[in-house]
C-alpha cells in the first residue's frame, strides 16, 4: 500500500473548489462547529453527549467567529430547498385553520415573525407558537423589530423572503417531528421511559427545533449587524443560543440510545436495521 500511496503524491484533490457556505458564514459556521462538532465527537452515554455539548460552547463559538470575522465574508445564502422543505413541513403538520394566522403573519410582516422568534427565545419559551397570542415581547426585541420594519418591502416584493420568518417557528413545530422520529425508531417506548429519557427527549426536541430555528440566524444576523441594536442583541443573546443541541437527527440518535439501553443490542439488530429498508428496529 505504501508504494502505491507514494505514487499518489501528486494526487489532485480539488474535486470541489467551491467552499461550502457554512464555511463562509461566520454565525452559521460557529453554530455548526459548536453543535455538530462535540455532538459527533461524543460517543457512549447520553450523559456524555449532554455534558460535552454544553461545555464551553459559547467560548468556542466566539473563537470561531473571530477566525471568520463577519466583515470579511458576510454571505447570505437563500437555501430555498431547506426553506421550502420547512414550509411544506408546516403545512403537513398543521391544519389549514391553524396555519392561516401564521401564513398571514409571514406574508404580512417579517418583523413580527422575527420579533416572535426573539421573544420566545428570550423568554426561554419553547412551546408551540400556533394558536398563541403574542402578549409579551422583550423590549429589545421590540426595538429591534421596529428598526427592521422597513425591511417589509423586500418581503412584499420577494415572497421567498417571507418564508424566512416562518423557519424559526417551523423549528418549534419540528419538535413534533423529533418526537415522531424517536417514536418511529423505538415503537413508542421512547416516551415512556425514565426521567433520563425525558431529559433526552427534551434535548432531542429542543435540539431539532433549534437546528431549524438557528438556520435562520445567519439571515437575521446579516441584517442585525448593520445597526448597534442588532449587534447588541447578538452579543447579549447569541451566546445563550449556543447552549442547545441542534441536529436534524438528534431525536433519532437519542431514540437509538434509549432503545439500546433497553434491548442491549446483542444480536446485531441495530446493524441489520441500518442496512435495511426497515422503518423500525425489529
Amino acid at each position: 500500500m505504501s508504494e502505491q500511496t507514494q505514487s499518489f503524491g501528486s494526487v489532485h484533490m480539488q474535486y470541489s473548489e467551491k467552499p461550502d457556505w457554512l464555511l463562509r458564514n461566520p454565525v452559521s459556521r460557529a453554530l455548526t462547529a459548536v453543535f455538530n462538532g462535540p455532538f459527533y465527537i461524543a460517543s457512549g452515554t447520553t450523559d456524555k453527549i449532554y455534558s460535552t455539548v454544553s461545555k464551553n460552547s459559547a467560548t468556542q463559538a466566539k473563537r470561531i467567529m473571530e477566525m471568520y470575522p463577519p466583515e470579511r465574508d458576510v454571505y447570505v445564502d437563500v437555501n430555498s430547498t431547506s426553506i421550502l422543505g420547512q414550509y411544506k413541513r408546516l403545512w403537513d403538520l398543521r391544519s389549514e385553520k391553524s396555519m392561516n394566522p401564521l401564513y398571514r403573519l409571514s406574508v404580512g410582516s417579517f418583523a413580527t415573525g422575527m420579533g416572535l422568534f426573539f421573544s420566545k427565545i428570550m423568554k426561554r419559551d419553547w412551546t408551540n407558537p400556533f394558536n398563541q397570542t403574542i402578549t409579551w415581547m422583550h423590549p429589545s426585541a421590540v426595538e429591534g423589530v421596529q428598526k427592521y420594519a422597513h425591511m417589509r418591502w423586500l418581503f412584499s416584493k420577494h415572497p421567498i423572503w417571507s418564508t424566512l420568518c416562518l423557519q424559526p417557528i417551523g423549528g418549534t413545530i419540528s419538535e413534533l417531528h423529533a418526537n415522531r422520529i424517536a417514536r418511529k425508531y423505538t415503537k413508542g417506548t421512547y416516551l415512556e421511559g425514565t426521567q433520563e429519557s425525558q431529559r433526552i427527549l427534551t434535548a432531542g426536541a429542543t435540539g431539532v427545533a433549534f437546528n431549524d430555528a438557528l438556520q435562520t440566524l445567519p439571515y437575521i444576523e446579516s441584517f442585525l449587524r448593520f445597526t448597534p441594536i442588532g449587534n447588541s442583541l447578538l452579543a447579549r443573546y447569541g451566546g445563550a443560543l449556543t447552549r442547545f443541541i441542534p441536529s436534524a437527527t438528534v431525536g433519532a440518535i437519542a431514540g437509538i440510545y434509549e432503545w439500546r439501553k433497553n434491548k442491549k443490542n446483542g444480536n446485531g439488530e441495530l446493524r441489520k436495521f441500518l442496512f435495511s429498508p426497515a422503518k423500525q428496529i425489529a
Partner: protein, 182 residues
Amino acid sequence: MDWEQLLQKWIVLFELKPDERKELYDSLHVQTQKTLGLIAESAQEKALEYCASMPKDSIPIEWFISTSSLQTWGGYMLYLMQHYIDPVESKTSARTHEPTIDKHWVAEYEKNMCHDYIDAINPIITLFLDKATAIRTEQFLLSNALFYKKEYKLVANIRNCLGWAAVHGYVVGLLEFSDQNK
C-alpha cells in the same frame, strides 16, 4: 429512496460502538479494505502537505489518519446503506473481485480522477457526503486550536482532502458493485 431516513441511519452508523464498527470493517473484502486504506492514506498525505508550513508538533497527524479513514469508510458504507447491502449478512468478504478493486480504482483515477463515477453520484448523496465533511472540518478546528488563526485557504484545502476521501469511499462502492453486475 427515503433520503431522510438514509441520512438518519448514516449518522447513527457513526455512533456505533467500536466492536460493531470493527465487525463491519472486518466483513469487507480484503481488497476493499486495501483500497479504502489507500484512499485514506492519500488524503492524509495530501492534508499533511498542506500543513507543511505549520510547526511540526502542531500538526495533528493522528487526527488526519483516523478522520480520513473514517471519511473513506463512511463514504463506502453510505453506498452500502443506500443499496441495502449489509456487509455482514451478504458476506462481502468472501466475494471475488474481477478485476481487483484497488487496481480498478487506481486505473479509473489515472484515467480521469474517477469522474465517470463521481458524475454519476446522486446530488443528494453528494450533499450527505458534503455535510459529513463539513462536520469533520468543524471537529478539526475545534480540536486544533492553532489552525484557528491560519488562512482560510489552508482550512479549505484540508476540507477538500476530507471531502475527497468521503467521495472516493463512495466511489469504491460504485466500482465494486458495478463490477459485480458485469
